[in-house]
Structures are given as structure tokens and as C-alpha cells.
């Protein structure tokens, strides 16, 4: 079933190793990093919005207290 004879063959890709693994490597990197960046953005956005919300509610409280 498996086409390759050895792991070294697999890595060498019949002499095209650099090109094949260069393609797959960068693609894997992009597809790993993009979700991480998006998730981090989501987190910082939520944190920032919560800060704003708290600041607003504090301002409201002060206004009603006066």
C-alpha cells in the first residue's frame, strides 16, 4: 500500500525534497499561525471591550451618584 521504501526516501522525495518540503512547510506554518493570530486578536479584542465596558459603567455610576 505505502509507496515509499524507507523514511529517507520519503524525505528525499526523489531529489525534489527541498521544493516539496519547502511548499508543505510554509503552508503548514501559515495554516498553524493564522488561527493562532486570529484567536489572539479575539482575546485582545474581548479584553479591550471589557475594559471599555467597565470604564463606561464606572462613569455611569459616578454620574448617578452625583
Amino acid at each position: 500500500m505505502i509507496y515509499w521504501n524507507s523514511f529517507a526516501d520519503f524525505l528525499a522525495m526523489g531529489g525534489y525534497g527541498f521544493y516539496v518540503w519547502g511548499s508543505f512547510g510554509l503552508t503548514a506554518l501559515i495554516m498553524a499561525i493564522e488561527p493562532i493570530i486570529v484567536a489572539r486578536n479575539q482575546k485582545t479584542t474581548i479584553a479591550r471591550l471589557k475594559r471599555q465596558l467597565r470604564a463606561e459603567s464606572r462613569a455611569d455610576n459616578r454620574n448617578t451618584a452625583e
Binding site: M1, I2, Y3, W4, F10, M13, G14, G15, Y16, Y19, V20, G22, S23, F24, L26, T27, I30, M31, E34, P35, V38, A39, N41, Q42, T45, I46, L49, K50, Q52, L53
Partner: protein, 248 residues
């Protein structure tokens, strides 16, 4: 009347936000499954290509990335048309959430195309119709993102960006055919990707990888649209409720 109501309910950010959140793990899971199956078939099982040797295996990401880069642009144009026609809030957010992923797909397509072209054609870059059109598609993505980023008002950004997408969709085929014609006139069709006798396993590997890329794009776009929603609707009650429920 009832259908209409349901559609608007679905299209309202307050309903869509939790729905998207629930769907993301699902899409990630099928993307990983398809990816593993596709890589297994493509990288381990599929035989070599007698013309191109093992270098052809780049096809398993190059072609899916190219497909996705074009497909995402079409989907964005579809959302743009919906947004301009029905003035729905969600459509502009969807288009904006898809754009960076589409641009990355175009970039992957160009990168892998270059790494494929070097051993096959002896050059990192040739002015082939497909490569050139892909490059222009990347420019169109960048133009869209730059335009929407430059407009402060979110609704106006959606509309202007949507219009640009529709203009782009009309232009992409014109650009493709003009480049193709120009290319054949200049150098003859020396560059030819003969994929006529593609083995069954190769085809399946490619299709599975395409599914993986598709599901990945949906998952990332959903993640991104959730952030955009919170940002845009930060003064609404539902966002306040979400924020209060978050991270206790």
C-alpha cells in the same frame, strides 16, 4: 413571511455569534480529518508521476490553494451582492472575515507554484496565464483589504468594499483571458501542465486536500467574523452579555 423572519434571525449577529462559536470546532475537526486522509493518500500511497517525478506532489497543496483563492473571492463577491441588495449587516462582516484567508491562499498558491516551477520549468517564475492571474488576484485581495481598512465607518467600508468586489469579479475573467492570449502570442504554449493521465489516488488525494483547505477556510473565517462582530456591535446588549459571560 415565516421564512423571511427566520432568515433575518439567522443573519442577525446576536444569533450568529454563538452559532459560529459552536460550529468552529466541528469545521476544524473535519478539516484535520480530510487533511490527514489527503496527506496519507497523496504523500504516502500515490505513486510517482512519470513525467515530473516526486516534485509533482506539490500539486496536493498548490491546486487546492489556487481553487480556494478563487472560490473565496467568489464567495466574498456573493456576500457583497447580498449586502448591497438587502443591506444585511452580516454579509459585509463575512466578506471582511474571508479576505485575509483568501489572500493567504493566493500567496500559498504563488509560493508553491514557484517551488514547483523551478524544478519543472527551470524558473521560479514564468509569465504563465495562471500564475499571472493569481498574482493579480492577490493584488485584488490586498486592494480590498486596504480599501476597507482605510474607511472608518464600518457600514460605508462594507458597501465600498462590496462594490470593489463586484467590479473585481467582472474583471477577473477578462484579466485571465487577456493574460492568456498575451502569453500564447508571446512565447507559444511552451508551458503546459499535462495532467491528462492522473492516477485515481492522486485525484482523490487532491480532492481530499481541497476539502481540508475549504473547511479550514470556513473555520478561520468564522473565528475572524466573531471578532469583527464584537468590535462592530460593542454597544449592543448582546455583546455586553457575551463580554460578561466571558472569562470568569
Amino acid at each position: 413571511m415565516k421564512d423571511r423572519f427566520n432568515f433575518y434571525r439567522f443573519a442577525s449577529p446576536a444569533t450568529f455569534y454563538p452559532l459560529a462559536g459552536a460550529l468552529i470546532p466541528f469545521f476544524v475537526a473535519i478539516s484535520v480529518l480530510f487533511g490527514l486522509a489527503g496527506l496519507y493518500l497523496g504523500m504516502l500511497v500515490a505513486p510517482t508521476d512519470f513525467q515530473q517525478g516526486e516534485g509533482y506532489r506539490i500539486i496536493f497543496i498548490h491546486v487546492p490553494a489556487s481553487w480556494m483563492s478563487m472560490f473565496i473571492y467568489l464567495v466574498m463577491a456573493f456576500w457583497a451582492a447580498i449586502g448591497l441588495a438587502f443591506n444585511t449587516r452580516l454579509s459585509g462582516m463575512m466578506a471582511q472575515a474571508l479576505a485575509p484567508t483568501g489572500a493567504l491562499m493566493a500567496f500559498i498558491s504563488l509560493w508553491t507554484g514557484a517551488l514547483w516551477g523551478k524544478p519543472m520549468w527551470g524558473a521560479w517564475w514564468v509569465w504563465d496565464a495562471r500564475l499571472t492571474s493569481e498574482l493579480i488576484l492577490l493584488f485584488l485581495y490586498i486592494g480590498y483589504m486596504a480599501l476597507t481598512a482605510a474607511i472608518d465607518d464600518a457600514r460605508r467600508a462594507d458597501k465600498a468594499g462590496g462594490l470593489l468586489l463586484l467590479v473585481g469579479v467582472v474583471n477577473v475573467p477578462i484579466i485571465y483571458f487577456s493574460v492568456k492570449w498575451w502569453n500564447t502570442l508571446h512565447q507559444g504554449s511552451s508551458v503546459n501542465l499535462a495532467k491528462s493521465s492522473m492516477a485515481q489516488t492522486m485525484l482523490w488525494g487532491m480532492l481530499l486536500m481541497a476539502m481540508c483547505f475549504w473547511m479550514y477556510s470556513i473555520a478561520v473565517a468564522l473565528m475572524r467574523v466573531r471578532t469583527i462582530m464584537l468590535e462592530r456591535e460593542r454597544n449592543t446588549d448582546w455583546v455586553k452579555a457575551v463580554l460578561e459571560g466571558e472569562g470568569k
